[in-house]
């Protein structure tokens, strides 16, 4: 056997395999076709980014009160600035903004508490969020109690309404979705077919026809003379729509649990609800969270449709502001602002969902 007692010292990596130039060569310019693509990509980037920065920042006007303060060369953020409160609160009376702010703050605190993994008492915060928070939010926003002046729902709007529609639709849809998903997996033929028809019906039609139905047909279904608030009608439509999608996400989560789990629970003599509530659901719910977040993102984007039935959510109020004769011709600024707000919300939620997927995936990787 030949061996060498001397340890050969570690050699540096060959020249041309490390450093920025090697990286460039490896990732951008390996081969003529790739180089061509890189140059093309750079050109596209140049065409898109330079005019955008020029328009949105360099030539833009930020301060002022009226359209005369805008040079019209770049973006006129004065418009967004002047309308900012409306975009956030709709037509909510400005003296009562503090009420909406408290609700916003509580909402943000609850979300932060649930999202940051280190914080304790998650269960109690969730119970508070589901039981106490809606009551507090309603009392604060709607008023009429404790000397708070009433603010009727047709004055609610802006981002506040968007968040409200999305959260209420979501929270309302979750229990209905769980029941529907369990029903769809049931052995009872009538229950199963009822759930299948219900789910497929709401999933098969566009949200806008559901909203039309909620705004045109719901008043027909109720006893004569009984009116329903427009916001409530939209919420009913959104919740039913969302519950069908939620049911499918939950069904997917339930299917991922091996059948042995339920059978083992049944062998221990547990009843159906105990099997579901203590064994299957807690495991399935964990797997469902990314899917639930994803449906929430689409619901959040879909809330913009309520403007078609006359509610002023963020997009609705921007659209209304654009037709103001004092601010004609700033549609680009309005849409870019609304798109930015929606994008921030949706992008951070989708990032969170990806993070959860990675975090929850560890145990099941094959």
């Amino acid at each position: 056997m030949i061996h060498n007692k001397e340890v050969i010292p570690a050699q540096p990596a060959p020249k041309g395999t490390i450093g920025p130039i090697a990286w460039l060569r490896g990732n951008l310019f390996n081969g003529p076709i790739n180089s061509l693509f890189t140059l093309l990509g750079l050109y596209v980037l140049y065409l898109l980014v330079v005019p955008t920065i020029q328009w949105a920042f360099i030539d833009a006007d930020w301060v002022g009160t009226s359209r005369e303060d805008c040079s019209r060369v770049g973006a006129c953020w004065v418009f967004v600035n002047a309308r900012f409160n409306q975009f956030m609160y709709g037509l909510y009376p400005s003296s009562e903004y503090w009420r909406a702010n408290i609700v916003f703050g509580m909402f943000a605190a609850i979300i932060a508490w649930m999202v940051i993994p280190r914080l304790p008492f998650k269960r109690w915060v969730a119970v508070f969020a589901l039981l106490a928070f809606p009551v507090i939010a309603y009392v604060l926003l709607h008023g009429g109690y404790f000397d708070l002046p009433r603010v009727s729902t047709h004055r609610w709007g802006g981002l506040m309404l968007t968040l409200l529609l999305a959260t209420v639709g979501m929270v309302g849809a979750l229990p209905i979705g769980i029941v529907l998903a369990l029903g769809r997996r049931s052995n009872m033929p009538i229950v199963k077919s009822f759930c299948v028809i219900f789910i497929e019906f709401w999933r098969g039609v566009p949200l806008i026809t559901i909203l039309f139905m909620a705004s045109v047909m719901l008043p027909l279904f109720l006893p004569t003379g009984m009116g329903v608030d427009r916001l409530v009608r939209a919420l009913i439509g959104l919740t039913l729509f969302q519950s069908a999608y939620m049911a499918e996400v939950i069904r997917g989560g339930l299917q991922a649990i091996p059948k042995g789990q339920e059978e083992a629970a049944a062998a221990l003599g547990m009843t159906y609800w105990k099997r579901m509530g203590l064994i299957v659901m807690p495991q399935a719910l964990k797997m469902m969270i990314p899917g639930i977040v994803n449906t929430f993102i689409s619901l959040f984007k879909d809330t913009t449709l309520v403007m078609i039935i006359g509610l002023f959510d963020l997009l609705g109020i921007v659209q209304a502001a654009l037709s103001d004769s004092r601010w004609l011709g700033f549609s680009l600024e309005g849409y870019v602002f609304a798109a930015f707000v929606f994008w921030i919300f949706c992008f951070s939620m989708s990032r969170y969902s990806q993070y959860l997927e990675r975090k929850l995936n560890t145990g099941h990787k094959r």
């Binding site: 990509g41 980037l45 098969g204 027909l220 279904f221 849409y335």
Partner: protein
């Protein structure tokens, strides 16, 4: 194995609420009763309300004269046509924007999805930026952006943007030259059909020959040459029997040619770009779902790189891609109902909008509209089930 002794005396039956079958039956009867009671309550209320408002139910209104104009009609329509005709017009417009949207979204989506996996860092990042931008902005906002912020701010007809003096773009839409077919043109579609049949036959023959002898012709290229080349040849041989009706500026607007209304353009652009971002993600995850061992095994069989893709990766990736892809197509068709927000005359806008407002027949109109979308969904999910059954991996 010991047998559990029977504790209960023979003939003793458990009470009915402990019997699973009976309990299920009772539970389901209660459910049926509740649903029926709910429906009766709703129907009763609806009848009262309709009587109070003096609306007669029924589909007779479909024969009445509509009396309103529609901006884009694929078949003949005048304001003297019936409400039933508006339904057909709306449906056709929905299918038009849906079909073209599916086509464009697929093309953009596949390109971006593959670009997302490109070894070129910049291209992959650009594709990623595209996906993350358009996926996270509500579709309605994108439609508004294209319609109000882009197409509505285009120059007027007099200062239209011209592309080669035959295509014009202005605030009233996109004006394209229209091909007018002269006599003798019928030969060209006939040649095209013949070429397609010939290529299918060639592909089948080539596969059989490949399986029998191991030799193969580049059937794909030959078919492409047949399908494109033959009709071209006939076109030239017959002396190009096509004249173009080029749009011309007369007065304040263009006459002649094909007019594509800005509502259609905005809806089509927004739908395609939005849905493409989802399709790109589906394509990417479909390709990434193929285990690397598959590619390695194919290379170990010394298949050339092109065949590795065509025979191993793509068929397996398609199995993963197609189910979510069809549901995206379905979403696109359902989302085309947002047309009503910018006034593109689709089914919801024309029928569930104008017709409903004019006639007040809310129940019939909404039911018909929903039925259309439900039928499309059912057809697509039937196709999905058939496809899944066909391509599902048979395991154990």
């Amino acid at each position: 194995m010991s047998v559990r002794p029977n504790i209960r005396p023979a003939g003793h039956k458990p009470p009915f609420w402990r019997d699973r079958a009976k309990r299920a039956l009772i539970f389901q009867l209660i459910l049926v009763a509740v649903v029926a009671a709910f429906l009766i309550y709703i129907i009763g209320n609806t009848q009262d309300n309709l009587n109070a408002r003096g609306i007669t139910t029924g589909f007779g209104f479909l024969n009445n004269t509509a009396g309103f104009g529609i901006g884009q009609t694929l078949i003949e329509y005048t304001s003297r046509s019936s409400y039933g005709r508006t339904f057909i017009i709306g449906l056709l417009n929905t299918l038009l924007v849906g079909g073209l949207g599916v086509l464009a979204a697929s093309i953009i989506g596949f390109i971006v999805g593959i670009a997302r996996l490109s070894p070129n860092w910049l291209i992959a990042k650009l594709a990623n930026a595209y996906i993350e931008t358009f996926r996270n902005i509500p579709l309605l906002l994108q439609i508004f952006f294209w319609y109000f912020a882009v197409l509505r701010t285009l120059p007027s007809a007099r200062d239209s943007m011209a592309f080669g003096e035959v295509i014009f773009l202005n605030v009233r839409g996109l004006f394209l030259p229209e091909p007018l077919f002269e006599s003798g043109f019928g030969l060209i579609p006939a040649t095209l059909i013949a070429a397609i049949i010939a290529s299918i036959a060639l592909v089948i023959w080539n596969r059989r020959r490949h399986e029998a002898t191991g030799k193969r012709l580049p059937a794909g290229w030959i078919s492409l040459a047949l399908i494109i080349g033959l009709p071209m040849l006939v076109l030239v041989a017959t002396g190009v029997p096509i004249t173009w009706d080029v749009p011309e500026l007369r007065g304040f607007n263009f006459r002649g040619g094909i007019t594509i209304i800005p509502e259609f353009l905005a809806l089509w652009l927004a739908l395609s770009i939005y849905t493409a971002s989802f399709i790109a993600e589906i394509v990417r995850s479909g390709i990434q779902a193929i285990p690397h061992g598959q590619t390695e095994a194919a290379q170990a069989l010394s298949l050339p790189r092109k065949l590795v893709l065509r025979l191993v990766v793509i068929p397996q990736a398609m199995r993963v891609i197609i189910p979510p892809l069809t549901s995206q197509y379905l979403n696109l068709i359902k989302n085309s109902s947002l047309a009503t927000a910018i006034g593109y005359p689709d089914l919801v806008s024309v029928f569930a909008g104008t017709t409903l407002n004019q006639t007040g027949q809310a129940i019939e109109v909404i039911a018909m509209t929903m039925a259309v979308y439900l039928i499309i969904s059912l057809l697509v999910s039937m196709f999905m089930n058939w496809f899944n059954a066909r391509v599902a991996l048979v395991e154990r």
